[in-house]
């Protein structure tokens, strides 16, 4: 296997491939940085243009857009509190407060390095452990997926902050939003109010853009009489050298990358879950958890390395098993098929140059982030902050609307986005935390569907939920998180 890996290196380094890596990464950063535009759409648009080319060029573009957009999403998250992609939600928690504290430059740099490191670790996992990790993917059936979802939901306990009841209400709201639509197991319609639009359920991207991107814009508009930032307060490169960053964050990077890789190999989980779990773990492990949410660079490092580490590892089940881990992976599989390559275990032996070349490309684009990310983000995007609010607010709103509209060309999506925007603004005003809403939307349906699938398979034998070793492992982790958190809260209560 390592022979083929190194034989593919020249393929990934040929001229066309290198050009596509640069172009892809740049486009990816831009796409990621524009809220509403997402990598899936960009890749779906670009792939048909490459049908005539060598698959290596097409895949180079995919790798670039994919890795680039993961970092690009962090840029508006840090500068404006608007996540450019759903996976960048956790980046807003500490990234934006850092900008407000005058550390925007440091936050961007931290995000760039963290994305790159997460991407590199993930690519190395893909290159060396893919066949092994693919077996782990297969070991996860509905029972295990159920427990993963419950584990994610329990981590809300870490996210809620001071007001537990508000956090729980937020999470419930998320679960209810996630319930809308036709139930895939019984075919029954839930909360659709006889509307055809609702029978399809809410599109996650639209809900998240509404909830997360519109409230900050409205907040900006409230302060329309002044420039949002004092142009002088944003220092680009006066902060943090590489060595210092590595020394400060290597533990967080390692931990978050492991979380990202583990979430990545589970089809259907995704980068937003990876980022939120990484953030939680970093907060839980921290000696100073109160500083999270007020501009702690570790929070940015955890979120960004977590979501980027999801990327390459999500390709593991698709390349080794032919099972797409997410929409980007599905597009990659589609592109391979269009080029006459059959995804599945034989892909490694039949077209090693393409598969291993793609792995190198994932690695190189993660590295390119350090070069291009710094350039684009700090030199170009940071200038956005110098824009007067009167221009910034409408521009951002228009960009988001265009982004959402282009997904399906459906006006109703825009109204739904605005409605969720108002809901998000209201929740924000009432000091309800928004992160549990996201986890509820993501994990509520995942827990429910998989529980019911598990019950269908075991014929309603509840004991089967606890007998399998992986389930038991996850339950143990879950109890640990729950008890340490409960203990912390109790101790704090006693101190007060």
């Amino acid at each position: 296997m390592f022979d083929s890996l190194f034989n593919a290196l020249p393929v990934a380094l040929q001229f066309g491939s290198v050009v596509s890596l640069f172009v892809g990464t740049l486009v990816g950063i831009l796409i990621g940085a524009l809220p509403g535009l997402n990598p899936v759409m960009a890749i779906a648009l670009m792939l048909p243009l490459t049908y005539g080319f060598d698959p290596v060029i097409a895949l180079g573009l995919v790798a670039g857009i994919y890795n680039g957009s993961m970092y690009g999403g962090a840029i508006p998250a840090i500068l404006l509190k608007i996540p450019g992609t759903p996976a960048a939600i956790a980046t807003t928690f500490d990234g934006y407060p850092m900008t407000r504290n005058g550390q925007g430059g440091l936050a961007l740099k931290t995000a760039c390095w963290s994305s790159a490191i997460g991407g590199i670790i993930s690519a190395i996992a893909l290159m060396t452990l893919a066949p092994l990790l693919a077996q782990v993917t297969l070991a996860f059936g509905p029972t295990e997926y159920f427990w993963v979802a419950v584990f994610g939901l329990v981590s809300i306990a870490v996210l809620v902050g001071s007001d537990i009841s508000k956090g729980m209400l937020s999470a419930l709201l998320g679960v209810i939003i996630g319930l809308v639509g036709v139930d895939t197991i019984s075919g029954a319609e839930r909360y659709t109010f006889d509307s055809l639009y609702l029978s399809g359920g809410f599109d996650l991207i639209i809900v998240l853009i509404g909830l997360y991107a519109i409230p900050p814009v409205l907040e900006m508009a409230e302060k329309s009489n002044a420039t949002y930032y004092d142009a002088g307060s944003f220092k680009v490169d006066a902060s943090g050298n590489a060595l210092g960053l590595i020394r400060q964050h290597w533990r967080t990077w390692t931990r978050s990358s492991l979380i990202g890789v583990s979430v990545g190999i589970l089809p259907g989980a995704g980068g937003n879950l990876a980022a939120l779990l990484s953030y939680n773990e970093a907060k839980r492990k921290s000696t100073n958890p109160e500083s999270f949410g007020t501009g702690n660079p570790v929070g940015v490092a955890a979120a960004e390395s977590g979501n980027s580490a999801d990327n390459a590892s999500a390709m593991i089940p698709s390349l080794t098993l032919g099972i797409p881990g997410n929409l980007v992976a599905a597009l990659v599989l589609g592109a391979l098929m269009i080029h006459g390559l059959q995804p599945g275990p034989q892909l490694f032996t039949k077209s090693p140059d393409v598969v291993f070349g793609f792995m190198w490309q994932m690695l190189f684009t993660a590295m390119l982030l350090l070069l291009l990310g710094g350039m684009v983000a700090t030199r170009l995007f940071a200038q956005v902050l110098r824009m007067p609010t009167a221009l910034l607010v409408p521009t951002t709103l228009v960009l988001m609307a265009v982004g959402v509209y282009t997904v399906k060309g459906n006006m109703t999506d825009l109204y739904v986005m605005l409605a969720f925007g108002l809901l998000g603004y209201l929740l924000h005003r009432l000091a309800f935390p928004l992160a549990p809403v996201v986890l509820g939307v993501l994990l509520g349906p995942m827990a429910e569907q998989n529980l019911r699938l598990a019950m269908l398979i075991s014929q309603d034998n509840w004991g089967s939920l606890f007998t399998r070793p992986i389930s038991q492992g996850i339950i143990a982790l879950l109890l640990m998180v729950l008890f340490t958190q409960a203990w912390k809260i109790l101790r704090k209560g006693r101190q007060n």
Binding site: V40, I43, I185
Partner: protein
């Protein structure tokens, strides 16, 4: 003066007649709605066909993926679009012939303009190598003898694969337990991991595992056998060709599209599919060409809608 009148009359008539006589359709990009997410089977075939179709038409085709509601959301969007030939639908059969039985939709096969069908493929059922059956007949017998014991992964309530399986199981008086997954990928994952006994889904994802010896595919849901799966029996070989349920793809337009324009597209599709690269692609996807146009296509949709309605009624799934 008379000449002037005559010329102006000729000029005028030429002018008014122009849109009909010299219809240069298409003269701008055409939007193709695919009612499934990017990267899926329907999307791949549609995009591949578009490559050759835009050469034929001389205009570019832009794909818009409008997934959701089992495809109903996208078809609904096309049903409300202008029938000017610049918004077309590239779909598989289920949103047209199955979904309307189960959900309220704002379209019907009777009102959409049929253009042409393009290709079709069967579904397959596969089991692990140690499953006690080696042929389609033995497979069905094993299921018959063990009612309620085996689980089969499928594409969900109202999914075409599930319907295909239920039609066969009903005829053989078989009781197997359906486990509804999100699609072939998820089903394959659970089948390979041993979480369900039977893989039910499209042929292509299963092929590498047949080659590896990790799966035995014993049945295909078409009347004919399938070359790629020599161990699998077609339904004709089992004596039940009438139980055939396949996945097929077609292009449709909103109600009232001009017949001439319909023919422009249908002719272009007919030449586009002749492209050897497209045919090679279809073969690699386990699909075969199937071109049925116009009213014949509507008739096919009618028959399938009725047949599926009956099956759903028996399963207690029919709502409309």
């Amino acid at each position: 003066m008379k000449t002037l009148q005559l010329t102006s009359l000729v000029a005028l008539s030429a002018f008014t007649a122009m849109p009909v006589m010299a219809d240069d359709y298409p003269n701008r990009p055409i939007e193709i709605i695919v009612p499934a997410p990017a990267g899926g089977g329907t999307d791949n075939v549609a995009r591949m066909l578009n490559q050759y179709l835009q050469e034929e038409l001389g205009e570019s085709l832009a794909v818009l993926n409008v997934a959701g509601g089992g495809g109903a959301i996208g078809v609904n969007q096309i049903a409300r679009a202008k029938p000017d030939g610049y918004t077309l639908l590239s779909t598989w059969n289920s949103p047209i012939t199955t979904v309307p039985h189960m959900q309220r939709v704002q379209y019907s096969y009777e009102t959409l303009t049929p253009i042409t069908s393009t290709s079709q493929s069967a579904y397959t059922m596969c089991v692990a190598p140690d499953f006690p059956a080696e042929t389609g007949e033995e497979f069905l017998a094993e299921l018959q003898n063990n009612p309620g014991q085996y689980t089969y992964g499928n594409d969900g309530v109202g999914g075409t694969m599930r319907l295909a399986a239920e039609r066969i199981f009903e005829a053989y008086d078989i009781e197997a337990r359906p486990i509804p997954f999100g699609g072939a990928g998820e089903t394959l994952q659970n089948f390979l991991g041993g979480h369900v006994d039977i893989y039910g889904g499209s042929i292509t994802p299963a092929l590498p595992y047949v080659e590896d010896g990790k799966a035995k595919c014993l049945l295909v849901t078409s009347a004919d056998d399938n070359e790629a799966l020599p161990q699998a029996s077609g339904l004709a070989a089992l004596g039940h060709p009438e139980l055939e349920t396949v996945l097929w793809r077609m292009m449709l337009a909103p109600e009232g599209m001009d017949e001439q324009r319909v023919n422009v597209i249908a002719d272009a599709v007919a030449s586009a599919v002749e492209h050897p690269e497209f045919q090679a692609f279809l073969t690699s996807q386990g699909e075969t060409l199937n071109l049925v146009r116009g009213e014949e296509l509507r008739e096919r949709l009618h028959q399938e809608t009725v047949a599926i309605g009956e099956t759903l009624e028996k399963l207690g799934l029919k709502k409309n």
